[in-house]
Symmetry: C2
Subunit: 327 residues, 2 copies
């Protein structure tokens, strides 16, 4: 039988899920306060679950708005009438930077932020100092891309499909004190404790997706050699591309220096016709997906963990050639 | 690129999901009032979503309790303080039968039932007459096992992992008038309209699981020849096993005649020691999974669509031999 056929109540699947959890704990250096869970519904379901679980006693939470995904997270707290506060936003400049020097509310239950913004191409270079308030972080697009200081992190969540696996599973890493905040009177499938108490198997989990995470995390640990090594590779890739963009008068990076994403490099050409022609040329050369998200236009190179340095070299060569023939 | 790598915003994936939907509509003879959706979280998430979406205006719903899964569905409505009514239950006889002659409330928003009860081994032979009130049916364990009269069905939901695909996706078939009941002020990912309005792609769907459903449904349509043919095969399998059980004085079927499941055949041996020995003997002969659910004991043969008649013949031969050597 294959992984799509074995029972999730079998010792075979126990080995898969437990190995994925143990490797995650080693890679992120998690202590015993943290639980590694596998949920469904993507990060979008977490936008709903975090306020539902952590704000039942009338407390507020602080949200930082750095783009499309943060905006959605804020909306899902507000739709539940949770009294959250948006303490910082970069909407004034179309989210091209990460706000800093933020004043947080000391009595907030948590601070929510999106560590990497896929659409706008920005990323927190370092996490903010939120004092005693734990952070809840959407890391869907940069989880496992570099080492992480967990000291003030209450929860991480990440749809798997960028860096750690296929679509259909969301990894949640949650600290015990946040689990203790969940009220009893919420639906079972929306309560983090349901997953923590049953090793993510209250009901049938997405077995194939969890199995694939296990394989990817094994590759990260054994082939790449850990998150420090992954970080070196990711920086090398991003530096190559950003240095080329900064030296160019034809191409222009759109995210501010100091806020630039190592995962999603957004850039513009002199005009939209040239952008369209460039994207078409790239497809001809076997490079798909370079069109920017429809909400911002321009171009975007998504260079997640799985992308090699060779692909960036090929892209830069193509960009040079396109400038020569069209510039 | 494989199905686990392509973007869900690509024409390749559009072809996959649209083909799965079209084949489902043909197999179940659905008219244009019905939407075929793919959600995550299994049937357990539907236990929460159905009352959340359909009972926002203070109306009640009728629930029929036929076992473990119905009981959980009832609990998830009650935890939300929805005023539901349990109009029938077979709990008095450990759920060994399907209640009939039920009085339904004419003003109920829906009648909820579990069409097949995996753990107790019972199944509705025909659906009850609920008058003008639409049925909402958990068909996780018998969807696509036989033709279905949709005339009074408002919604079907089914975790895919029994008859139509791998774990990690839940098929929801919903009629337009039930979609119209959802209030605006519920979380986006818990609103059926989110999925209906975006062809199940508001956020990244479980692509691999949907792809596998497409393949299974294609097999049902093209290789099996449709649900009438699937029904013939399923009845032949179940009849063989039930006839053997009814002729035996060693084995005993636990579900009442007229309420017996064609998918899960539950039976006992003269005592628990013999049951344990039989299950061990079966494993030795390559037949796993015959142990009854831990909540009821005994034995259970799950004979979903994918199980062939040969497997039932092998099982009956083994049962005969075991009786001869142990009886």
């Amino acid at each position: 039988m294959s992984i799509t056929e074995v029972s999730h109540r079998s010792p075979w699947f126990d080995d898969v899920i437990n190995d994925a959890i143990e490797r995650t704990k080693r890679l992120l250096k998690l202590d015993d306060q943290y639980h590694v869970l596998f949920l469904q519904g993507g990060a979008s379901m977490q936008f709903c679950m975090a306020p539902l679980n952590f704000l039942s006693d009338g407390r507020s939470a602080d949200y930082i708005n750095t783009g499309t995904w943060s905006t959605k997270a804020i909306k899902e707290a507000q739709i539940q009438n949770k009294p959250i506060k948006v303490v910082a936003s970069s909407e004034d400049k179309n989210f091209c930077y990460i706000p800093n020097n933020i004043s947080f509310n000391k009595d907030a239950a948590y601070v929510h932020l999106t560590s990497n913004n896929t659409i706008k191409g920005t990323q927190f270079e370092s996490l903010p100092d939120t004092g005693q308030v734990p952070m809840v972080i959407d890391m869907s697009s940069d989880i496992m891309s570099k080492p992480l200081d967990m000291s003030n992190i209450g929860m991480i969540y990440a749809g798997a499909q960028k860096n750690i696996g296929p679509a259909g599973v969301c990894m949640v890493i949650i600290r015990q004190d946040l689990l203790d905040l969940s009220p009893d009177n919420i639906p079972t499938m929306l309560n983090y404790n349901t997953f923590a108490n049953k090793n993510s198997m209250f009901n049938t989990p997405p077995c194939f997706a969890i199995y694939t995470i296990q394989l990817v995390i094994k590759w990260l640990e054994e082939t790449i050699g850990g998150l420090e090594q992954m970080d070196v590779k990711n920086r090398e890739k991003a530096d190559l591309l950003y240095n080329f963009l900064d030296d160019s008068s034809f191409y222009r990076a759109t995210a501010d220096k100091g806020s630039r994403s190592l995962m999603n490099v957004t850039f513009r050409l002199p005009n939209e016709d040239l952008e369209k022609a460039f994207v078409a040329k790239a497809v001809e050369n076997g490079m798909g997906g370079l069109k920017g998200h429809r909400s911002v236009g321009g171009c975007r190179a998504s260079i997640y963990n799985a992308t090699g340095l060779d692909a960036i070299n090929d892209l830069v060569s193509l960009m040079k050639e396109f400038e020569k023939t069209s510039g």
